[in-house]
């Protein structure tokens, strides 16, 4: 027995070493795209990332960041932490597999034979290495996300319950259970995924403790575990904060004490109560349960870090969870909204309508929780108080427009659902509106609902990912159901060609994509063998089977059911299901045990030939290593992220495009988080104020934007927002109408004009000389900032709706400021900058704020938009944009006419600044290194940069600066070469070729044209194949 333990430990650590080597040598040396830059900054500086936050990840990451030799190494250290945690996960996977395999292969109480030990070790090695080198897990192992840590917790907890199984009869074995509870509490501070292990844990407990486990007993236990998950997920996680909120209200609002008194009293009370009850309760199961609860709460208390750090108001403080009410909605992830799960609306359902007290038709709503915020004080000696901001309201839907198990529920995605479904089979349903004739609404059928569930949610968003890991993957390009992108495949061409069309006809860039990995279904088969063996071998193995199955189900299909995904996700979501691939890897490992078991029974025992044991050993060993080694031969190249600096450098380039002290409006994760990372962690260009337009709609973000950030020379002044809290608080001015119809077909503009005509004195008193000046329009008409009005005037002003009074406003330009600003002067500076809102009916709060800032700064501070924001999302404002790099500067010049004259399709460039920025300041993240891995997101960023360089070159040619143009072209070819980023029509390559030709480099131009035409011939061929 002792020999077995030594071998088990030693081989486990060897497998750990292999995994650690794999991940450490492929780890990304800096931040990666998506949420990684945010998580890394949140760990290094203890700032607050997106809900529900990851405080324990922050603490661990913070520790690792302290090993960094300088700030550029911080990200790498945190990535290495994840690499090591992932290797730790592999270690526990190995020990879990060997535990399960040994329990089935070796009879209880017997010493395992050498051959049996070999078989058990081979099972562990095979399963662990298959998982090590599988796609999804490796992806998360080499970047700064929380999924590696979360997987580590899952593996650890699963292994601990098996460990408990071995020690269940020792007197204080309950300690293991308490430890599991504590780790679960901690893991909430990383990711909630870990709770999904509970059913498996409960089953292990039941099978071990019950003298005679039955099927009904198992079902009962599963119900108990569902209850446990519900208690933690819906009780403890949000409940702790909710009850805390009651205490806060009592102590602060009612008793008049300072903020957080109630919270402290509450925390002290909870722990005191638990301590006392644990001391007095001697009943073993109750004592253990109370201990579990207490330790889980201690683990969960890492959230205090979030609370305390949010109170410090760091630059990144998402949702400002620095008071118990905001912390509550932060923990409850309320910003993501609720999705119906069992019963609810379809995408075409209309909300129920009732009449209000005045008899007006309104949407029927259910009242949710009240939202409280700390009062914004006007004087420092004012008393602390929480004020009600609003009540959370939810729309109701008439029950005849609802369905069971709604899978096609989101109105916003209606067109996408129908696109996915082909044709929806809708049926008419009566829609009652009080006091009117009933209308009909077309509701999709249950058949469509289930079709979507099976074909999209299950097949496309789960099984496809599953098959990537155990059968093979077509390429790393996100697929939306088309046969050339992101499908699973096997490597057997007869099967793949039948499903997806002739794969050898795919265009080269798809066929040679590094994400193309084929495993010939080998891991899948091995897993199936292990699964069947475990399910049918004997009574003990069936129990194991249910334990692993529930891990597999809960971390896979249960998540699919819970998240109720809508079509067209922004990225592939396989990382959410890593836990279920972990469970399947256990079966892959057991596949080896199964083959051994079979050989043991039919060859060793029946044939009774001694020398066969050598043959068996050899076969097992070959199988063990062949499958994972085949996998790694495929997956290494598309998981090797070493030497990649694109995320950091491209993020930096946005900042380098901005003039000193400028404001940059961005949009989306990949144009915001890398910028934050550069500023917060690496201290690059902190003078630039980065403002994400999506967040600017929320009051907490506006609060943050009104605060100064950083110190010294890199200080960033607050955004010039003059609005008071009451004017931008949640629920106020969320949408602002533009020139709405007020009465009798008269628009707001007509009303204002008629008042100006009939009572010019009054109009002047109210609105000054010019009511259509942008500043006046916003502050008088939207925000109602009037002073010293008579009662009659007050009444009149109140009768007007809060809106922008015209669709055509203007800013009187401060010419001196424009001259000082060093922006490119496109002709004479105009007296007025026209703000044309003709095509806009309503503006978001964020947009109005941006307009107000343009009016407020009046070109005394540079304002930019990131070029990845769609120009048309700002109406006609983009006619005032001049490109200076990866950003557009807002100028007073209207370029519409200018553009027509010059024959340019896109914005005008300030070639002088853009040349300096792109040639001297920009970095290109090592994109030119031959063979470097460029995934889809990185590829998109490379293309964005190439397009900018191409535009700069074309514009230089228009300005007859051929020498500079050629330099730009050479730089483009050197930094973003076609061997790593192939030429395509949307990468600006046509412009590049034309620019080369204009510079007299005919052969270069021809080369690009040839590459383009070859690619498009290939696509043509593929399109014909597709339609065949």
């Amino acid at each position: 027995m002792k020999r077995y333990k030594t071998i088990n430990d030693a081989v486990g650590w060897m497998v750990f070493a292999v995994a650690a080597f794999t991940y450490c040598s492929t780890v990304e040396p800096t931040a990666s795209f998506w949420d990684c830059p945010e998580f890394i900054s949140s760990a290094y500086l203890l700032e607050i990332g997106h809900p529900p936050g990851a405080p324990f990840f922050m603490l661990m990451g913070n520790l690792f960041s302290q090993f960094a030799s300088d700030i550029t190494q911080v990200a790498k250290m945190i990535n290495i932490m994840n690499a090591l945690l992932s290797a730790g996960c592999i270690l526990f996977l190995f020990w879990s597999i060997t535990h399960l395999a040994k329990a089935l292969l070796v009879s209880k109480g017997q010493s395992p034979t050498s051959l049996q030990i070999l078989a058990v070790m081979c099972s562990g090695i095979s399963g662990a290495l298959i998982y090590t080198w599988s796609d999804t897990f490796w992806f998360s192992a080499v970047e700064g996300e929380v999924y590696a840590f979360s997987s580590f917790f899952t593996a650890l907890v699963f292994w601990l319950i098996l460990k408990w199984e071995d020690n269940a009869d020792s007197p204080r074995s309950d300690r293991w259970i308490v430890l599991i509870a504590y780790l679960m509490g901690l893991s909430i501070g990383v990711h909630l995924l870990n709770l999904l292990c509970i059913p498996s844990i409960v089953l292990v407990y039941y099978y071990r403790k019950s003298a005679n486990p039955t099927a009904w007993g198992s079902v009962l236990m599963l119900m108990v575990s569902a209850l446990l998950i519900a208690v933690v997920l819906y009780g403890i996680v949000p409940g702790v904060a909710k009850v805390g909120g009651w205490f806060e209200l009592l102590f602060v609002n009612t008793l008049g004490m300072p903020y957080n008194t109630g919270l402290l009293v509450y925390v002290a009370l909870v722990f005191l109560l638990l301590a006392v009850s644990i001391a007095y309760v001697k009943l073993r199961w109750l004592n253990t349960s109370l201990l579990c609860l207490a330790m889980m709460l201690i683990g969960y208390s890492s959230y205090a870090v979030i609370f305390i750090r949010s109170c410090a108001n760091p630059m990144m403080d998402e949702n400002s969870p620095g008071n118990i009410f905001a912390l509550g909605s932060y923990l409850g992830r309320e910003q993501y909204g609720d999705k119906p799960l069992l019963w609810g609306q379809t995408y075409s359902s209309e909300p129920e309508i009732t009449t209000d007290n005045a008899g007006k038709l309104v949407y029927a709503t259910t009242k949710g929780k009240t939202i409280y915020r700390p009062k914004h004080k006007t004087a420092p000696n004012e008393k602390d108080e929480y004020i009600k901001v609003r009540e959370h309201l939810e729309l109701k839907y008439p029950s005849n427009q609802c369905m069971l198990f709604p899978r096609i529920h989101s109105e916003r995605h209606a067109a996408l659902y129908e696109q996915w479904l082909g044709a929806a089979h809708k049926h008419p349903v009566e829609y009652e509106i009080p006091g009117r004739m009933p209308e009909t609404v077309m509701i999709p059928s249950m058949r469509d609902n289930l079709r979507f569930f099976f074909s999209y949610q299950l097949n496309h968003m789960y099984w496809r990912y599953f098959m990537w890991n155990f059968a093979g993957r077509q390429n790393d390009i996100q697929g939306n159901g088309e046969p050339e992108h992101g499908n699973w495949l096997t490597g057997f061409s007869w099967l793949d060609d039948m499903r997806l069309g002739k794969q050898s006809l795919l265009p080269t860039e798809l066929r040679e994509n590094k994400g193309h990995n084929v495993f010939y279904c080998l891991p899948l088969l091995l897993g199936l063998i292990g699964l069947l063996w475990q399910a049918f071998r004997d009574k003990k193995s069936v129990q194991q089977f249910w334990v692993v199955s529930f891990l597999f189900f809960m971390t896979g299909i249960a998540i699919v059911l819970y998240v109720n995904q809508t079509p067209s996700e922004p990225r592939e979501r396989d990382y959410s299901y890593a836990g279920s691939f972990y469970a399947y890897a256990i079966w892959c490992g057991l596949g080896i045990a199964a083959i051994f078991d079979w050989m043991q029974r039919y060859i060793l025992h029946k044939m009774k030939i001694k020398s066969y044991s050598v043959i068996v050993a050899i076969i097992i060993a070959i199988l063990t290593f062949a499958v994972p080694l085949q996998m790694v031969s495929q997956t290494w190249d598309d998981h090797d992220r070493s030497n990649r600096y694109m995320c950091r450098d491209f993020g930096r380039n946005y900042l380098e495009s901005i003039a000193y002290d400028g404001i940059l409006f961005t949009n989306g994760d990949n144009e915001t988080f890398p910028l934050w990372y550069n500023q917060d962690t690496e201290g690059v260009r902190t003078d630039v104020r980065v403002c994400n337009m999506q967040y600017l709609q929320t009051d907490w973000y506006i609060d943050q934007m009104k605060r100064p950030a950083f110190s010294g020379k890199g200080m960033s002044s607050p955004l010039p927002i003059t609005w008071q809290y009451a004017q931008y608080m949640e629920g106020v001015n969320e949408m602002v109408d533009v020139n709405p119809v007020v009465t009798n077909g008269m628009t707001m503009k007509d009303v204002v004009c008629s008042i100006r005509e009939q009572e010019p004195e009054l109009a002047k008193r109210l609105w000054g000389e010019d009511p259509f000046e942008l500043k006046t329009a916003i502050h008088k008409f939207v925000l109602h900032e009037y002073e010293g009005l008579t009662d009659e005037e007050e009444r009149m002003v109140k009768a007007l709706p809060a809106c922008l009074p015209s669709d055509s406003l203007h800013v009187t330009v401060d010419k001196e400021a424009v001259r000082r600003s060093e922006m490119k002067l496109l002709g004479e500076i105009p007296d007025r900058m026209e703000i044309d809102l003709t095509h806009q009916h309503r503006l978001s709060k964020a947009f109005v704020l941006v307009l107000d800032m343009i009016a407020e700064t009046n070109f005394s501070r540079p304002i930019y938009f990131s070029i990845t924001i769609g120009p048309d999302s700002f109406g006609e404002l983009y006619h005032h944009f001049v490109q200076e790099g990866m950003a557009w500067r807002v100028t007073p010049f209207n370029i519409k006419e200018n553009r027509k004259e010059r024959g340019l399709v896109e914005c005008v460039c300030d070639t002088e600044k853009m040349y300096v920025n792109m040639m001297k300041r920009f970095r290109y993240g090592n994109t030119s290194m031959p063979g470097i891995y460029i995934d889809e997101t990185t590829h998109r960023m490379c293309i964005g940069h190439r397009r900018c360089l191409a535009r700069l070159a074309s514009q230089l040619i228009v300005e007859n600066k051929y020498h500079e143009a050629l330099k730009v072209l050479e730089r483009c070819e050197k930094e973003i070469p076609s061997y790593n980023v192939p030429h395509s029509l949307w990468s600006g390559s046509m412009e590049l070729a034309q620019a080369y030709r204009a510079c007299g480099k005919e052969e270069k131009a021809l080369d690009i044209f040839n590459q383009l035409s070859t690619t498009y011939d290939e696509y043509q061929k593929w399109e014909t194949e597709k339609t065949r």
Partner: protein, 81 residues
């Protein structure tokens, strides 16, 4: 005699419970570390008027989180001891 028997009995029942006295003491020590870390982490924040560089001081974002983390990891030892 009777007294001693009682004592043995309570000891036996305590032995089957998950935690002994030592565990409680150790868990409490771990808690002290966590609380100490949290206290050291708190302090004045940035206001609407001025950025406060102290929010990123060595004490608040390097030493304090380390003490907290020590507390959290120590609890594992406290449970298993």
């Amino acid at each position: 005699m009777g007294n001693r028997k009682d004592k043995i009995k309570t000891n036996a029942s305590e032995n089957t419970l998950a935690f002994g006295t030592l565990n409680y003491v150790l868990v409490f020590i771990g808690l002290l570390f966590i609380i100490m870390g949290l206290v050291l982490m708190s302090g004045e924040g940035t206001t609407d008027i001025a950025f406060n560089p102290d929010i990123f001081s060595t004490m608040r974002i390097k030493i304090a989180p380390m003490i907290c983390l020590t507390g959290f990891l120590f609890e594992i030892y406290a449970i298993l001891k």
